[in-house]
Symmetry: D3
Subunit: 67 residues, 6 copies
Amino acid sequence: MPYVNIKITREGASAEQKAELIAGVTELLRKTLNKNPATTVVVIDEVDTDNWGIGGESVTVRRARGQ
Amino acid sequence: MPYVNIKITREGASAEQKAELIAGVTELLRKTLNKNPATTVVVIDEVDTDNWGIGGESVTVRRARGQ
Amino acid sequence: MPYVNIKITREGASAEQKAELIAGVTELLRKTLNKNPATTVVVIDEVDTDNWGIGGESVTVRRARGQ
Amino acid sequence: MPYVNIKITREGASAEQKAELIAGVTELLRKTLNKNPATTVVVIDEVDTDNWGIGGESVTVRRARGQ
Amino acid sequence: MPYVNIKITREGASAEQKAELIAGVTELLRKTLNKNPATTVVVIDEVDTDNWGIGGESVTVRRARGQ
Amino acid sequence: MPYVNIKITREGASAEQKAELIAGVTELLRKTLNKNPATTVVVIDEVDTDNWGIGGESVTVRRARGQ
């Protein structure tokens, strides 16, 4: 019955990679806490780099500097 | 003053249906807990089916199987 | 398969009132968008009044003024 | 190490304004609680006015009335 | 730089199990999307069974029935 | 009408410091985006250090090492 929300910057994750995240975190909860995969919900949010900040500046600005 | 976040898959909910959700949950909080509708905030997130997982797989894959 | 998060101030909601919220919002999603109740998840967060702000001040301060 | 999520209606905030929010809230956490800016994460969600409700109705409806 | 929020019912997860979740999901994001572990943030919320609903009723009620 | 959620580790923030965060972020949204303070909602979550991970390990473990 767990609920997992994964937020990443929108930088081209493929449907296959997102499916791998969903399968992987569902299995991790089963293995670690014996949670039922059938009712484990995973929601992935992809966030524009203008809308994600770290270190006081946006990821857009950091990427432009090569970080 | 409550805050409600409703996450659903992005599968064509209309503006009318979303207005019905907003009105309905605001009224539910007034009726149940006497919360003031004027300051009840509701945010609806519509999530791509590739980005929503249940049972360890994406809703896209489940829909393709007819689930 | 919806996920609903309801945040309210921690001011004595009973288990019965919270059960009413869970049943009510699940039914609202079934009626409005034909969502399956069996996989509708609802999480209620009760938040200390010191930790909830509106109008630039905490609910603790507002309650002390009689609001 | 704080995590801040700011939700606003999608009504034309510019990249510059969003950068100002990111810088401002990061500095606020440094000044108030001595939190390290290098690991402070800020995520801004811009939400369609159909999907944001207050007072039991959507912001789209309120804007149409001039509110 | 990802942010992951894991919500589970409060039913006695140990510090060791929670550490395993943190390590596991951080590694999953590194392996799948090449995300930097140093800036991957994981927050685990443990939610009272009265406050978690599925199928229109609380987990407290379901546990009492043996589910 | 913005909604802001601030998550910090539970390490003794006082009611005064939390009031300062609420006032500060509300003013930042007014100044930057002309948002109405009267309907700006701020929710602060304080999270146990066992439940917060960064760099693949819990803050409890990091604090024990002096980080």
